[in-house]
């Protein structure tokens, strides 16, 4: 049976000062998807996420998130943003960061004991309950990303969006992070923007390639043509083998 999409892009265009950033984007995400979006720098990956989250509006076309406008539908989204958007000079402890994920327009003040227990539960999910009362600045990059993953689970999301989650993270921490994502996969759809192509091969169910236009065929591999077109150059082997592939098998 065909599943109802939770996110749809219908002929979406986005331009800045008449310069096209995204052109004719069509996309459909279902509740059990795990999509990795790859593409070169400046290809529009973060812009795509900003459109999904309703931070910016499309120049033309329509976006539906949980059958609503993105600004309304985003209450069901868990979001892990890029590290540089956070103010690490701000003195804040891990537990306070995680509990921030339960703030809503109607709940702007203090947290209840229930919020704290939920935050500790999600911290234990990412194996960081021991550092709950430490300043976030004292954690490694990999640990910080797991804290932000715990925060993004606080609103019980149906769609988890990750923007470069393993950027500035060492490879061992990256592997650990993708293992955590695998454990979340049955509970929510996941959409991840990344440069880490080996991780795409390990973690994602489907892969899309974005460079102003989107190549996405709801499959676990992209053709070499798609990749080369997106990166505007020839791309050599990235990863082969099961369970998932980024590129399809060579003909020879």
């Amino acid at each position: 049976m065909e599943q109802t999409p939770i996110l749809t892009f219908n002929k979406v265009n986005y331009t800045v000062n008449n310069k096209p950033i995204l052109t004719d984007i069509n996309l459909s995400v279902t509740p059990d998807d795990f999509i990795a979006v790859i593409g070169p720098n400046g290809g529009g990956k973060t812009t795509l996420l900003k459109l999904i989250l309703g931070i910016i509006k499309p120049t033309s076309g329509s976006i539906q998130l949980f059958s609503k406008a993105p600004k309304v539908g985003r209450v069901h989204v868990g979001y892990l943003s890029q590290q540089f958007l956070k103010n690490f000079s701000f003195p804040i402890h891990v537990i306070d960061v995680v509990m921030g994920g339960s703030l809503t327009p109607k709940k702007l003040g203090w947290f209840s004991q229930k919020n704290r227990e939920k935050a500790l539960h999600h911290l234990s999910q990412v194996q960081l309950e021991d550092v709950a009362d430490q300043p976030i600045q004292q954690l490694s990059g990999g640990q910080q990303q797991r804290v932000f993953l715990a925060r993004s689970l606080m609103n019980d999301p149906k769609l988890l969006i990750l923007d470069e989650p393993t950027c500035h993270v060492d490879s061992q921490s990256g592997v650990h992070f993708y293992e955590l994502l695998q454990s979340l996969k049955p509970k929510m759809a996941i959409m991840m923007v990344t440069h880490d192509l080996s991780a795409v091969a390990k973690a994602a169910k489907t892969v899309a390639c974005l460079n102003q236009t989107l190549s996405y065929h709801h499959s676990d591999s992209l053709s070499k043509d798609d990749i080369s077109k997106a990166y505007c150059c020839h791309v050599d082997l990235i990863s082969h083998g099961h369970p998932h592939r980024v590129l399809s098998n060579h003909d020879h």
Binding site: K71, D96, G100, T104, P105, L108
Partner: protein
């Protein structure tokens, strides 16, 4: 009686100012609003000048003018993001200029005007205590009620947007509290020294602690100690109280730096 002592009301108002400065200073540091704070504190002179021309109570006139400018800054910044620094500079200069024109019109170039630049804590009245006390209670209430939201706004504003928090209204609340704090501190240390009393206790606290609430508490303690020390200095060695307070704040900041380098 202790209430008749020359230092009694100044001490109360100085400590109230230290409380609001300690509560708001860490937000200014976290949101990197020091330039905006400098701009608003100087622009407050425009409100003082208008009050002198129209015969309004100076505290109320300065407060209304500074709050209005702070709202203007937030709203213009929201709709025209690229103009931020120029706008802050413009408000700084235009506010001061309005003050200069008004003071010139009232022919009040005197020690009275100098008190707005360097503070006049030792001339604090009982009315000042009640007015500044009420404002301090308002700030304490708002900061307590919106503690978590303001924390998220400072740590990651974009995430606050995605959680559908009313970020513009929260920013308006924050700059309103900054404007109120500035006007209270003008009474204590004067326009030219406000920025020091808002930033140094917070910087001292940040050298000691890494939790936001503790930062606020330590900044309040540092502010109160500085006020006590400053009043003491001004009574014992006869220097202006505002400058004495700043010397004490700077000394405590220096000690915190030494402590940090030793630990």
């Amino acid at each position: 009686m202790i209430t008749n002592a020359i230092w009694f009301y100044p001490l109360i108002v100085g400590c109230l100012a230290a409380v609001v400065g300690g509560l708001i200073g860490p937000y200014i540091a976290a949101r990197r609003l020091t330039f905006l704070t400098g701009s608003l504190s100087h622009a407050a002179f425009g409100g003082i000048g208008l009050s002198l021309v129209f015969g309004w109570p100076v505290l109320i006139g300065a407060l209304s003018f500074t709050v209005a400018l702070s709202w203007l800054l937030v709203l213009i910044e929201h709709y025209y993001t690229q103009a931020k620094d120029s706008l802050i500079s413009a408000i700084w200069a235009v506010g001061m200029s309005i003050g200069v024109v008004c003071v010139s019109a009232t022919n009040q170039y005197s020690a009275n005007i100098m008190s707005y630049f360097f503070g006049d804590l030792l001339f604090t009245s009982q009315t000042d205590v009640w007015l500044i006390g009420s404002l301090a209670v308002v700030i304490l209430g708002v900061v307590t009620l919106l503690y978590r939201s303001l924390q998220l706004l400072c740590f990651e504003p974009e995430y606050a947007v995605i959680r559908n928090l009313p970020t513009i209204r929260l920013q308006l609340v924050l700059v309103t509290m900054i404007a109120i704090t500035i006007v209270i501190l003008v009474k204590v240390v004067g326009i030219l020294l406000v920025i020091a009393l808002l930033s140094l206790p917070t910087s001292t606290a940040l050298n000691i602690t890494q939790r936001f609430r503790t930062t606020q508490v330590v900044a309040i303690i540092v502010g109160c100690l500085s006020v006590m020390g400053g009043i003491g200095l001004s009574l014992v060695v006869d220097i202006p109280t505002g400058a004495g307070i700043i010397f004490c704040t700077a000394a405590l900041y220096g000690l915190s730096l030494i402590n940090r380098s030793l630990t």
